[in-house]
Symmetry: C2
Subunit: 259 residues, 2 copies
């Protein structure tokens, strides 16, 4: 049975201010909770329906982890989803800095003010698929632990290290030898470009692209050409969605590894 | 001034049944309405705020098209958006079959039960960017004229021809010489595969992939390899989002044109 104060505590975690105070976030759904249990994330408490508790793989649930059985009507009071899942976890926000990758030896993604939670989660999922283990976000990028972002990562949050930084300071400290890639509506055609699988790759904001302050650090300007045959300037696609562009660019980097 | 019956008529178009009866759909936002005005779509009526009417490029608004000035409070009664735009149009649903491309000479996209409006709109936008002019959808794919789909196309609805078909019948009638590509979690690594820029490319449902009835028509099984270094079967990304996978595959097809 969930107490009123517990319900109110859990619901407060839907707001960034309270996640920061309590250093906890919400994860829902069997796949996501299982992924987090298998990762280095520390789960504080699990709330689940009786069928989930019976069917789940208890071998990965640590003996010290409290798993509370709750009813569907209780789940409805705490869920962020339109159709509640059978399992809900409270998870500790970790300090991610210790597992950050070195852009001198591996490709690191930088997000310059990604605002949409769905895009953000999808980008984390794309990074995971393409083996990009570190994502560095501007301070105005949507919070990783926003429940919609957590959900949209589809479990990839368990494997990708996400760090919030002042991007200008971060880029200033990078060695000159490290390439800084950015995607623009003009630049070098990515398909014919030589791409190193190290350095940083900057993805711009959904509406404004890469900001002016950040653009000056870009050493390699990339663009994804359009194949649309409509010729008029007024009657052609403007751009690709930010997460879609991220996927195309990451795919271009990675395919060169196996050529 | 919008009459009560007009408001009720417009709101009915948010439901597929009424769009089918009236053969009209809703488009909102300056970019989208302008794109539709420049296309072969027939706009029936435009509702706009005074500032939009003053600032818009009147040269592309046909003289016979009624443009009604309405207030923000009236826009709030008909909009589908969380923050209303200054322009709203009622548009005729066209018969798209006349402009369908031949998969014998060009790449055609097939959607096998895409259900999420955001994915559907994003896929149309991707098709537009990569110059894929025809998209054929299974009868259970979300309706193109669902306001969320229209919005997510970001204007690409004005250029891409979308047709709903019984996919089995369509695929049965295809010549043996036309390749039928499908993306799966196993198959030939797309990066090393020879890809013709003609034929059909099938994208499966978000949760279930390509259905069994459709899978048997696939002649070329493709997969996008993951570069995630986590080895365990239980602790790695499952898949890419349907629209993201579409983008990666379309990019792979098109880049070969310019190699």
């Amino acid at each position: 049975m969930l107490s009123k104060s517990k319900i109110s505590f859990i619901n407060s975690l839907k707001i960034k201010k309270y996640r920061d105070i309590h250093q906890q976030f919400i994860a829902e759904g069997s796949k996501l909770v299982m992924e987090l249990l298998r990762s280095s994330y520390v789960i504080k408490e699990v709330y689940a329906t009786a069928p989930w508790i019976i069917e789940s793989d208890q071998s990965i649930v640590p003996g010290t982890l409290p798993v509370y059985e709750i009813g569907d009507w209780e789940m409805a009071k705490i869920t962020c989803l339109s159709s509640p899942s059978p399992v809900f976890a409270l998870v500790e926000i970790p300090n991610p800095r210790k597992s950050m990758r070195d852009p001198g030896s591996d490709l690191v993604l930088i997000l310059d003010d990604i605002r949409d939670p769905g895009n953000m989660g999808t980008i984390i999922r794309i990074a995971d698929w393409f083996g990009i283990e570190t994502v560095i976000c501007s301070e105005n990028t949507v919070d990783l632990y926003n429940p919609k972002v957590v959900q949209a990562t589809m479990g990839s949050i368990a494997r990708v290290t996400v760090i919030y930084e002042n991007l200008e300071l971060f880029l200033q400290q990078l060695s000159d030898k490290i390439p800084v890639y950015g995607t623009f509506l003009g630049g070098e055609n990515i398909y014919g470009k030589n791409l190193d699988n190290k350095g940083v790759l900057i993805i711009g904001n959904e509406a404004y692209g890469i900001s002016r302050e950040i653009e000056k650090y870009v050493t390699e300007r990339l663009f994804i050409p359009s194949f649309c045959s409509f010729e008029s300037e007024d009657h052609k696609p403007d751009s690709l969605n930010a997460s879609v562009a991220t996927a195309v660019v990451c795919s271009e980097f990675r395919r060169r590894i196996i050529r």
